[in-house]
Symmetry: C2
Amino acid sequence: VTIVDVARISNVSPATVTRALQGHPRVLPETRLRVEQAAQKLGYRPDSIAQALATGATNTIGLLVPSSGDTFWGEVAAGVEAEAAERGISVLFANGHGDPERQRQMLDVFLRKRVDAVIVAAAAGRPHEWLARERTELPVVLIAWDAAVDAEEFARAQTAPLERAIASVTTLELPGPHYAHIAFDAMDDGSLAAQHLSALGHERIAFIAGKPQQSSLLRLLGFRTALERASLRPGPIVTCEESLEGGRQAALELLRSHSARPTAIVAYNDLLAIGAIRAAHALGIRVPEDLSVVGCDDIDFAAFVEPPLTTVAQPRQKVGRLAIRLIYEQEPDREKAVRLLEAGTLVVRESTASVPKGGGAEAGR
Amino acid sequence: VTIVDVARISNVSPATVTRALQGHPRVLPETRLRVEQAAQKLGYRPDSIAQALATGATNTIGLLVPSSGDTFWGEVAAGVEAEAAERGISVLFANGHGDPERQRQMLDVFLRKRVDAVIVAAAAGRPHEWLARERTELPVVLIAWDAAVDAEEFARAQTAPLERAIASVTTLELPGPHYAHIAFDAMDDGSLAAQHLSALGHERIAFIAGKPQQSSLLRLLGFRTALERASLRPGPIVTCEESLEGGRQAALELLRSHSARPTAIVAYNDLLAIGAIRAAHALGIRVPEDLSVVGCDDIDFAAFVEPPLTTVAQPRQKVGRLAIRLIYEQEPDREKAVRLLEAGTLVVRESTASVPKGGGAEAGR
DNA sequence: CTGAAAGCGCTTACAG
DNA sequence: CTGAAAGCGCTTACAG
């Protein structure tokens, strides 16, 4: 059943059917009614494909995630979908599997499907490079692009004077002009975590860092900033693989040391934090009585471990919604890169407590 | 850049461009080359929208999930996406929020976007009813439709003779003809769990059931079947709200009872199982030394609780992939409802162990 | 207020 | 092997 069926039944031309159904002002109320009834009766459903071809807009966006079946990106996707649905926009969904080549292929599919725009979450590689190769004017919004930083730079940021370290990281942040970027405020995450601990009276606070990526570096820098603000010297900083096991190993190293043992640990993310808690358990160190641990991200099971993990939650849904708003509300001034920084919020659970009596370090001696 | 641009540059008609690019056999190798080079040079990307309008196939399917940002359905979605991507099919993604009306709306969008088929995961309500109202021939495959059963029936199945109970549930199972249905084999899940425990020597095994839904009922019936096979009488069966807290309450009830305390519990799902473990901890009952607990689903954090949970994992990705295969490989004999039952697999972790010495019940006396 | 016509970018019989 | 033509189902100036 097409528009001409409706036209025939209601004794008007197809053009009038379009106008009537779209609420075009200059249509006789009576003919509008006739058309609507005919459409209703026939169960007419305008063909979006034909509409898209005629108008040039598909009312569809492409969403590229780095991995699905993951709660974190799943929720970002949920935010995208929800905001899109409210506006009558559909979302084409694809998984880049963290692989730049794969990502490019999916982008190509999106391009051919003539999406209105594409949202790329946690783009692999350097988006401005592979996007440029596609030769397209398609609006792109990046979510949480996390650039790799080289190992040297990473090491330097751990010890370099704070201001200089921050300055050098900041220059890396932009994924290039022309692309809007919505990022989680990683530096603020690190600050929130450290500040929470210093407010609890901790003075020896260690940091477990992850891969040499901007986000890890920024959280570390935020951590350093908060401590400096509290006139505290940062405790030991260790790097590890981003897994439960990595966190466990790192914490073991931190907690076994004979010199002043930290009374608190900030981990780059929740997985590392949970690993650290396991390490503490294994050494007979109680959490939070002897050691406080704070993670970052508030992944799904952060609330389910023992003890439930204090962490910094990211506004995942919000960031997804924002991306859609950016696409459909923003003046398309593509020369100026848009950049939005979204702050996380501290979620206090049971893995943190006031500093143990006597400063806590003694307990380890 | 359209097909006519390519045609002009390569000195052929648009029709020939189509043929050349599609690998149509009857094209002079030389002209094919010319066309390909022109396309390449211009960065020509055939417009899928136009193709869809001309051919009638969009190479796109619609996927409706009950909630996104959930690992379980996220993984089913990942399976769908992966299998689709391998076939060059795109997936339009929408969230029904478990609301039948909402679901219908999204289906309508899919219909207008002329998807080749739609996959509905965990459909809310009675799919054959609301699907019928859409007056469409669109192929539909349902994944894991879980029908509500009325409370009486639910109660009856706990006590009725096994064979009869099974028979009565089975009649409810089909979501109607015309719709393919891929389901997790819930009865087998329950059997696997119970069988694992009886093999460990447990004889007093309780069951914590969830909402009055088919899946809960079937797992219970599977549980009963396995016990009967092992010549064991089922332990107490309690029902509760499907949450951590619900599981905790139910277990409290089970474990506090002065009469013979169960040495093992099968819970309808992992959440309930984890709640049950918390209850045991609170009562000073050790898991798995004094009490074995097995869950079902293998949700993300099942491996992260203390102790890591023994559970029955569902083939989530597989089920997603299967749905796509059904759509693109199946002979479309729409009169015969296709129904696939996918079995889960037991994942043994640390919440189960051999029955405590002396039968265990004594421990509670 | 309404209609006839052209067009969106492709594909596919039908000829040759 | 290749081209001209018609068609997919809508929309939108352009007339009237």
